[in-house]
Every structure is written in C-alpha cells, then in structure tokens.
C-alpha cells in the first residue's frame, strides 16, 4: 500500500505561509527603482483626468502637461521665484501691454504635425482666453487683446491693459503650453487623457488609470534633455501611504504629510533627504451659501465662531503648521495676520438661537486623507459643542473634485467642505477662484460679490505693492463678512527624496518633473 501526500493548501497552512511571507517582506529591504539612473518614480496626489492645458484639474496634471506640451516658460527650480525659457529662444516685455517672443527653431510635434510655429502660439493662447471655450483658466489671459504673428517663429502678445501677474502666474504655468493648431482643429474638441501632437521634453507613453502614468524622454527634443529615460508617476492620494511607499523603496520622491515632517526631519530614512518649504497653499472650511440650511448668514457666522482654528490645525498637522488668516500666504501682498471672527462658542450658540436653527444637521465633505479626516473630526466636535450635528463624508479624489461643479448634480446639496487650493506667487491667483464667474466652477461656496470682483480686476493692473496689499486685504475681509469661509492654514510643504536624485522644485516645494536630475 502506498501513501499519497496531500499538497492542497489548508486555511491553517495559508495563514502560516502568509505570516512567514509578511515577516520576510519586512525583513528584506527593496531597492529604489531609480538606482540604475534611468527611471524616476514619483508619487502624485491624484490621478490624471484631463491633459488639456485649458481644463486641467490638479497640480500633478500641470506637471505632466508642461512636460509633454512645451510651454513658453516654466517656473525656475530653486529657492527664489523666477522663470526659465523652454520653447522660446527669447521673450521680452516691450512695454506695459506688449510682449515679444521668438520660438526655438526645431521643436516638433509628434504624430506628424510638423514644427511648432508662432501660429501655434497664437492659437493656443487665444484658445484659452476665448470666452466660448469656457476655460476655468481664461482669467490667466483675461487682459489678452491678441497674439500677432510676425513670422514663422516670432510674434507679439498684445494685452488690453497692464497685467501684473503675467510673468509670475500666467507665462510660467501651463497657460503658456503650446498646442498644435492643426492637431487641435482635426481633434475638434478638448484633449482628454489621450494627448495629441506632443512636443515637450517627455512624451506620455502610457497611462494605467489609478495605477501609473509613464513619461518617456522625447527622442526628438533637441534642447536640454529631461534627466531620466522614464518617469513613473504613481497616484497615491494619502501622503501617509506615500511615505510608507518611500520607506519601502517604491518611490524616489514624494510630498509628505505635514504632520510627518517633525518625525522625518529628526529621523530620515537611510539614503534620503527631507525638505521643508514654505507653502503658498491655503486650507479652509467652506460653506455653500446657496444651500437651504446655510442661507441664513447668521448660521454661517455661527459656524465661523464655533470653530477652534488653532485646535483644528494643531490636531491635523501635529503642530507642524500654523494657523492661516486668509487665502494669501505670508510674504505676498495681501497677507493678513488676523480674521474677522474669533473662536467664541457662546456667540455661536446665540447666533444659532437667533436664527432659530435648533438641531441643525449639516454634512461636511472632505477628501479622503488622514489630515483632512483629523481636521474634520475636530470641526465635527466643535460643531457638536454648539448643538450642530455634523456628518463627515469622505470622498476619493475623483468624486471630491467634482462635488461643487455646476455640471454635476450634487452642488446644491453641498453644505460644508474642507478644501485646499495651491497657488502661484501672486495674490490674484488666490482671489481669482472666488469671483462670481467661478461660481459652480471652483467657487463652491457660491460666494457672489460684485465689489470683490471689481477689486480683483483692480488688483490685476495695480503694480504699487502698498495699494495691492490694501486691495487683497479688503477682498479677504469681504470673504470673512460673507460667513462662507473659515480660514485654517497655509500648511508647509514637506518632501522626501533619495540622495541619488536632485529634485526640481519650485520655491514652494511643488515639483517640476522636467527639472529632476540624477545626483
């Protein structure tokens, strides 16, 4: 009689094997992907959704867009704000309303769309400014009169009037990315996630939704080449998850959560460099003034007084960030050191009683991230303290970034939201999102104030620093008065990278993928 041995997997043997495998995977460190010097692996906080410069949705998309569609300028990497020419040989402000440019001679579009010309510049800039396009970034070119083509490579950008942020928040952004006129006319629509006629230092080689975006060095790019053969961009929403990925050797560069900065600075992982940069971002609690439950300004003001901003920020960022007082970061014209509402639960209760809002129930929509969730829970507790029941709704990035859109169905049900915007180094880039034109686009509080709009327009052409400071302070005062905003913090930016790479970063820590190099 022979005995046969059963090699089937039982639940017990599976548990034992899984335990052993888990222990082994922790014990054996993995290697960084960039160690061969050809592949850079970075984390982005959201997956790409659109590659059209005129309709981009997030910073990670900005980074990809300006890598694959050559812009006139990009921000300069380093600790001071400035710009670097990419598609132009020369660019110069001739007077308050005229800028001349000359393109580099040999930038080509892929897919057989030929050489980049001044006609393409005219098309791309005027397309974004065209009101019929309804680009949320039309404001970047709000004062554009026309682009005049002088010859194949040269032209003049004519403005209707002086536009102070042109060199800080328009030209060095994807607003100056050049698309192929012929390719776009053939496409007849906006670019989605499939780019046409790429022209940058890198080309989009592959996009695996929610998994990976792969950029490859453009073999036809004849100027300063990108630093890596390939850049792999991994969408990881939660910075804490990204930190674990970095520690496990799966990433070469990532933003960290602000709350992790003290720990990482004190004890950086081997072979890594931790960076802390001043942030231009702003985080706030917004209130949709058109929602039925929040229509009464006394209720919104009550919520302003109910929130203990210091505790919210301390709890969410573990003391690494300080309380912010508006949408304009310190160091820029219009930055404030106080807000018009203080933490006063008694006043909040009185206002709620006056408005007859007993047993008020509100929802708070947040992006599903650890820091936001922590902040939201403190807000929830603060509101409970004044008798308001708050339900937290966590959303993935795909859902969250469409919540307040007028094209969706949810915007009128939106009540409270915890929001964070990044900005460029000009105050107008913060204020532009809260103008009446932006209601239902990025202005989800539906704050609609004509005086605010007039001040915004005035700020765009005012070059006197003192007057600009006054204008932008006044605008934030109007935001306070509306009751729609509780300003929380400007955060700081934390990043960590392998010591085998030199990251290309703006002064505020935002990445410029095309500027990353090997060490």
């Amino acid at each position: 009689m022979t005995q046969s041995r059963d090699f089937g997997v039982s639940r017990r043997s599976f548990l034992a094997a899984a335990g052993a495998f888990g222990a082994a995977s922790v014990a054996v460190p993995r290697m960084a992907l960039s160690q061969d010097g050809s592949v850079l692996t970075v984390r982005s906080y959201s997956d790409l959704q659109v590659l059209d410069p005129a309709f981009r949705l997030s910073l990670p998309e900005d980074d990809i867009i300006r890598s694959i569609f050559a812009p006139l300028l990009i921000p300069q990497a380093g600790d001071t704000w400035g710009w670097k020419a990419i598609a132009v040989d020369s660019i110069e402000q001739l007077d308050d309303v005229t800028v001349s440019f000359r393109l580099k001679d040999n930038i080509g579009f892929t897919d057989g769309f030929g050489q980049m010309t001044a006609e393409d510049v005219k098309f791309s800039i005027e397309r974004m400014a065209d009101p019929a396009m309804e680009s949320p970034y039309a404001g970047d070119w709000a004062t554009l009169k026309e682009v005049e083509v002088k010859d194949k490579l040269s032209g003049l950008i004519h403005l209707k009037n002086k536009f102070v942020p042109l060199w800080t928040t328009t030209l060095p952004t994807p607003a100056s990315c050049i698309l192929s006129k012929r390719a776009m006319e053939e496409l007849g629509d906006k670019i989605t996630t499939k780019p046409v006629a790429q022209s940058g230092q890198y080309l989009l080689a592959d996009w695996q939704p929610k998994q990976k975006t792969i950029l490859k060095r453009n073999p036809d790019w004849a100027h300063e080449p990108g630093g890596f053969d390939e850049i792999h961009i991994i969408p990881i929403e939660d910075p804490a998850t990204a930190e674990r990925g970095f520690e496990a050797g799966d990433l070469d560069y990532t933003w960290t959560s602000v709350s992790s900065l003290p720990r990482l600075k004190e004890n950086p992982p081997a072979g890594s460099v931790v960076l802390e940069k001043p942030s231009l971002a702003y985080v706030w609690l917004g209130m949709n003034q058109d929602n039925e439950a929040l229509k009464d300004i006394r209720i919104r003001r009550a919520i302003q007084h109910a929130i203990d901003r210091q505790t919210v920020v301390d709890a969410a960022y573990f003391g690494a960030a300080s309380v912010g007082n508006g949408i304009i970061a310190p160091g820029l014209p219009g930055s404030r050191d106080s807000v018009a509402y203080d933490y006063d639960p008694d006043k909040a209760r009185a206002l709620l009683a006056e408005a007859g809002a007993s047993n008020l129930f509100v929802t708070l929509d947040i992006l599903n991230q650890s820091e936001r969730l922590t902040a939201a829970q403190v807000i929830q507790a603060n509101l409970a303290d004044v008798g308001v029941t708050c339900e937290i709704k966590q959303n993935d990035s795909g859902t969250f970034w469409t919540l307040g859109s007028k094209d969706g169905e949810y915007f009128m049900n939106l009540q409270l939201l915890l929001q964070r915007f990044s900005m460029q180094p000009d105050p107008s880039w913060a204020t532009v999102w809260f103008t009446p034109e932006q209601v239902g686009v990025w202005n989800w509080e539906r704050f609609d104030n004509a005086e605010y709009k007039a001040l915004h327009d005035q700020g765009l052409s005012e070059s006197d620093e003192g007057k600009r400071d006054e204008i932008y302070r006044k605008m934030q005062g109007l935001m306070d008065e509306s009751g729609c905003y509780v300003f929380l913090t400007h955060e700081v930016v934390g990043a960590i990278h392998r010591d085998t790479i030199v990251p290309g970063l703006k002064p505020n820590g935002e990445s410029l993928l095309s500027e990353f190099k090997s060490a």
């Binding site: 997997v9 674990r244 505790t311 573990f318 829970q377 709704k393 966590q394 859902t399």
Partner: protein
C-alpha cells in the same frame, strides 16, 4: 424523567467537550468569548467616552489611565477598541445571518424550482460572484455614500451567492430522494416539503461554513472602514483605528496595534472555532483541508 433530562444535557455537552478538548477549539472559544464579552460590556469597561476628543492628551502611550494609549485626537483607544468591537461583531453577525437567510431561501427555490428558474438564478449568482469585492464596495459607496448599511449590503451581496449555491446543490440531490417523494405523494405542499424535509438536512454544513465566514466579514468591515468606505467618523471601528495608527506608525505604533490586534484575535478566534466545529461535526471535510 430526570434521567432523560440528564441524558439530553450530556448529549448537548458532548460536542462542547469535544471542542474544548481540541487546543485550537478551546483557544477559539476563549478568544470569541473575550471579544464578544468586551464588546457587550463596552459601556461598563470603558472609563472614557470613545468619541470624546482631547487634543491635549493626544499620542499618549499605554498607561494605567489609558490602557491602550490615545490617538491623534486624544481619544482613549481602549474605549474605542471595545466600542469598535460592537460595530465589527454586530456587522458580522447581522450580515452573516442575513446572508444565510437569503442564501437558504434562494438556494431552496433554485434547487427545488423549475429548471429555467434554476438557470436564471445560477446566472444571477455567478454574475454577482464575478464582481471583485472591493469594486462592488466602491460602486455601492459611490451610489449611496459610506455607511454601516453599505458595509452590510456589500457583505450580503458577496456571501449570498456562495450560500445559495451550496443549498441549491444539496436540494437538487435531495429533491428525488425517497422521503421527499413520500411526502409529495402524501399531498405535502412545496413549502412544507422545503421547510420540514429538505431544509433540516441541508442547513448543518452551511452553519459551519457561516461561522468560518464571520472573520471574513470582520475583515471586510475593517477593510472598508480603513479605506474610509465603512462607518462614518467619529464612530469607532477597528479599521478606522488602524487607519489612524497607520499615519503615525513609526512614532506611535500603539494606535495601529490597538486597531490591528482585535482584528487578528477575533479572526483567529472565529477561524479556530469554525475549523474545530467542522472537524467535530463533519470529519469528512477535515480530510479535504
């Protein structure tokens, strides 16, 4: 009379004694009693209100005041773990029971009903089964928002096809047996045949299977809460505690341990208990592993 009652009690105790004689069975029962007891007595055992935030006390390590330490909002983790146990166990028990009932009913209908209905239901079961659990959870949460109900619905949808298929197979086998034919010839209604003749004969293995599925359900609930798709904050859930701990795992590992340990202990407890139950009541399955 007295002797008969004593005999009954011995009959009832026999399997229990057999389970307790198995080391893993005894350990399983002990762990299950510990976790269920902790959840049931959470209000008495907790010294702190589980949702009360106290930022000044954040990230305190385990101590006599806070047995498992505190989280990033200064909430007492021991209280949150005990109350989180209520969520995990109530979801597990309720969702498993609901899955069992629906699975049994659908399985009986598929197995005893006409062929076309059987084919249709098998198609339905296989369609549901072919959906990855996480995808299904994401789709439901996108439609209805994260909630405890969403967790229960996901678990029921995931479990029902498996249970229904088992019941259907056994019903098909019993449908033509002599005692069923006899009942039919005596004029018994379909409902009576299903309730009194078929169900008692098919339900035993399913109960064992269900007890072994409880840890899977607990893992689903914890997983969904970890991902922010389960219970809404600030309701304590083991998955949510694990997520809180994950953020600061290097500096304050006790939070992740507080969230992870009960999941491991409960999973092991129910797994050991389920496997011992299976070994005791159906030794044939043991041979299959």
């Amino acid at each position: 009379m007295f002797a008969a009652a004593s005999e009954d009690r011995r009959q009832w105790l026999k399997p229990l004694v057999r389970i307790l004689r198995e080391p893993l069975g005894a350990l399983g029962i002990a762990l299950v009693i510990l976790m269920v007891g902790g959840a049931a007595l959470a209000d008495f055992l907790s010294a702190f209100e589980p949702n009360k935030i106290s930022p000044r006390d954040r990230f305190q390590g385990p101590s006599l005041t806070h047995l498992l330490g505190t989280d990033q909002l200064g909430r007492d983790l021991f209280s949150r773990v005990l109350h989180g146990g209520r969520i995990a166990l109530s979801v597990a028990l309720f969702a498993t029971a609901a899955s069992l009932i629906i699975g049994i009913v659908l399985g009986l209908i598929a197995g005893y009903g006409p062929r076309w209905l059987d084919n249709l239901m098998i198609l339905l079961f296989d369609s549901i089964k072919s959906f990855p659990t996480v995808m299904l959870a994401l789709a439901l949460v996108t439609l209805f928002g994260p909630s405890l109900t969403a967790v229960v619905v996901v678990v029921v949808l995931v479990n029902v096809p498996g249970y229904a298929r088992i019941i259907r197979t056994q019903t098909l086998a019993l449908k033509t047996s002599e005692f069923v034919t006899a009942a039919q010839s005596m004029g018994a209604s379909t409902a009576r045949i299903l309730r009194h003749h078929i169900m008692p004969n098919v339900i035993g293995p399913l109960l064992i299977l269900a007890s072994m599925d409880i840890p899977v359900v607990i893992a689903i609930e914890a997983g969904m809460s970890f991902l922010g798709l389960g219970v809404r904050p600030p309701t304590p859930s083991w998955g949510a505690i694990l997520n809180d701990g994950f953020t600061a795992i290097r500096d304050t590992p006790w939070i992740a341990i507080a969230g992870g340990l009960p999941i491991i202990l409960t999973t092991l407890g129910f797994t050991f208990l389920g496997e011992t139950l299976r070994d005791v009541f159906d030794p044939r399955l043991k041979a299959r592993g």
